[in-house]
Amino acid sequence: MTTYKISKDKMNELLSSIKGYDVYVPTELGDKFQFKVMKDAGDAKLGYSQSAKPPKDVIFPQNEVLMNYKIQPNGFDVDQVIDSIGKFVIFGIRNCDSRALKYLDTQMLNGKYVDPYYAKRRENTTVVGLACNTPLYNCFCKSVGAGPHHKEGHDVHLTELDDGYLVEIITDKGKELLANSMSLLAGSSDADASKQAELKQACEAKFVRKLDIKGNDKRMLDIFESDYWRDVSDGCIGCGICTLLCPTCFCFDIQDIGSRKEGQRVRVWDSCQYPEYTMHASSHNPRPGKKERQRQRFFHKYVYSYKNNQMLGCVGCGRCINQCPTQIDIIDVIEGVKNVKEVDQ
């Protein structure tokens, strides 16, 4: 790993010097932010707090064409679009979101089958992380294993200092990305490193909310049938905000769109919060109510993922708390598990 420094005014130059990639940068969206393909380096708002929609949609797009189909008189042609996937850079991703990519890897790349579309996009993506200096009110990444200054999953790691950015090139992918722009980078000093450590400490001290996850998975299994889940989901309106905006949620649906002659088979995000999601053809539904559906969300993140992938399905970005229209608070719910009385059998 090599460490450089770049001054703030040269950052735009660095962004424009990246060629041959679709560069996703945080841009403004009203009073929120979102990741978009950079058209002009000036659009990039690296001082952003958190994007409304996580940048997972670069690697796992909301609408992803699996294949184009054409119906022939005696059969069909499918044209897989897998080879036309280009190269991407996610520039300025926070650690919570990049850790979520790591989680998605365990789901999409492990197991008996590998998802080829995800694998290809993942391989073609270079991740440039940006350390977080000011956590939001509902952030709790530190409690679930990530951290504002963690570097795992990043190819290049940036840290914003007072007079510039500290650039740490971690992998070969990162080296390749910045090969053209090495002239913009200057060496870094020990003072910068100590400043970085200082920022890290300062940031970690700023966290307001904390979550103690120890032993919670066992406890949750004990109270699976408790009325507690009904109470926490009382306010739920059954929208998909918490799941669609979650950086680790991966559920999808496959739809054929087009005419009977030609069209596309598209993979589109789905959400466990919708009743149709699990409904059987006989209209029996294993998760008939919002109690079961909300419970599924908490259990998937805090119990099943841990059991199957040894990794929590929650990265502590706080989006579901910030955006929930009815203030369902995952920290509160998981903390509250400890105080639930035993279920009457």
Partner: protein, 309 residues
């Protein structure tokens, strides 16, 4: 055949037959792969599912009902309920569908050798287990197993699937076949409890005490009561059941009452599935993905699952 698990392989429909009529008709279609290579790569075992693609309409996970002893074609029994299945019902001989799979685990048939087999189906639930009895009853394999009992029930005589072959078995000495219906339609088209021609009524409250007249194979009752009445012996026996979740629940309860061990009872838990490869996330029961770890579970495993099915 490519590495892409989402790619459907073309298969030609070589036979269709209506299995059940009524409001939810069931159609059986036979398909054969167009490419020889696909055919050789497709190795199904009883219990597997495959995804049928109606290109332009969508995909559906359907159980394979033909036994692996049929090398040349695959059979699917499809109930007409939604967009894709309606499109599948419109298929005619010679049309092309997409098939991908096979997915899921299998019934541990090799462990069952030398044992008696009780097969209990309800409604469309007969489709996934049809592959087993066809496999077992195949002349090559028949000698490996003991006595085979088939029990099958549906709402009305019209709704009974695979009628033709079941009625044939009914006439033969082997296997033992018992059929039941919930009710029969009367002359006015309404449910008529008295018009039970050839389907003797069973007193629901006291099914276990009823004495079955020898040679009687058709009854009017629910499948769990049929099980209670036939009283299959649990000794050295494997019971396989599939049907609507509520039927499975009561069938397994009644089997346990008869003395069946949890490990003697097998069932398939078919949830809604989309991708078939454990990625799309909808078929999970707790931490288990049915499309990869299931759909076949024995009752002991089912009890360990979280009660969400």
């Amino acid at each position: 055949m490519s590495d892409n698990p989402y790619e459907p392989m073309p298969a030609r429909v070589i036979g269709v037959s209506m299995e059940a009529g009524g409001i939810r008709p069931v159609k059986k279609i036979q398909v054969a792969f167009v490419n020889e290579e696909d055919k050789n790569n497709f190795k199904n075992v009883p219990g597997n599912c495959a995804i049928l693609s109606m290109i332009g309409q969508g995909e559906s996970m359907i159980s394979i009902t033909s036994p692996p002893t049929e090398k040349d074609f695959l059979e699917f029994a499809i109930m007409k309920v939604g967009v894709v299945t309606t499109a599948l019902h419109e298929l005619e001989v010679g049309d092309i569908v997409g098939v991908r799979g096979p997915y899921g685990n299998a019934f541990p048939i090799d462990d069952w050798k030398g044992k008696d087999i009780v097969i209990i189906g309800a409604g469309i639930g007969m489709a996934p287990i049809r592959s087993i009895y066809n496999y077992i009853l195949h002349p090559d394999n028949r000698k490996d197993f003991g006595k085979v009992t088939l029990m099958y029930g549906a709402r009305t005589p019209n709704d009974l699937s695979f009628k033709k072959e079941l009625f044939e078995y009914e006439d033969q000495a082997d296997p033992d076949v018992f059929l039941c219906i919930d009710w029969k339609f009367g002359p006015n088209g309404m449910m008529d409890e008295d018009a039970q021609e050839g389907w003797p009524r069973i007193n629901m409250k006291d099914a276990g005490a009823t004495v079955i007249p020898p040679g009687q194979t058709r009854f009017t009752c629910f499948v769990p009561q049929l099980v209670e009445m036939i009283k299959p012996s649990p000794e050295n026996t494997i019971a396989i059941t599939c049907g609507p979740p509520i039927a499975i629940k009561f069938i397994t309860q009644n089997l346990s009452k008869l003395g069946f061990d949890d490990e003697q009872i097998f069932t398939t838990m078919e949830n809604r599935m989309k991708c078939g490869i454990g990625k799309c996330g909808r078929c999970n029961i707790g931490d288990v993905f049915v499309c990869v770890d299931g759909p076949v579970f024995n009752y002991k495993q089912v009890k360990e699952l979280l009660p969400e099915y």
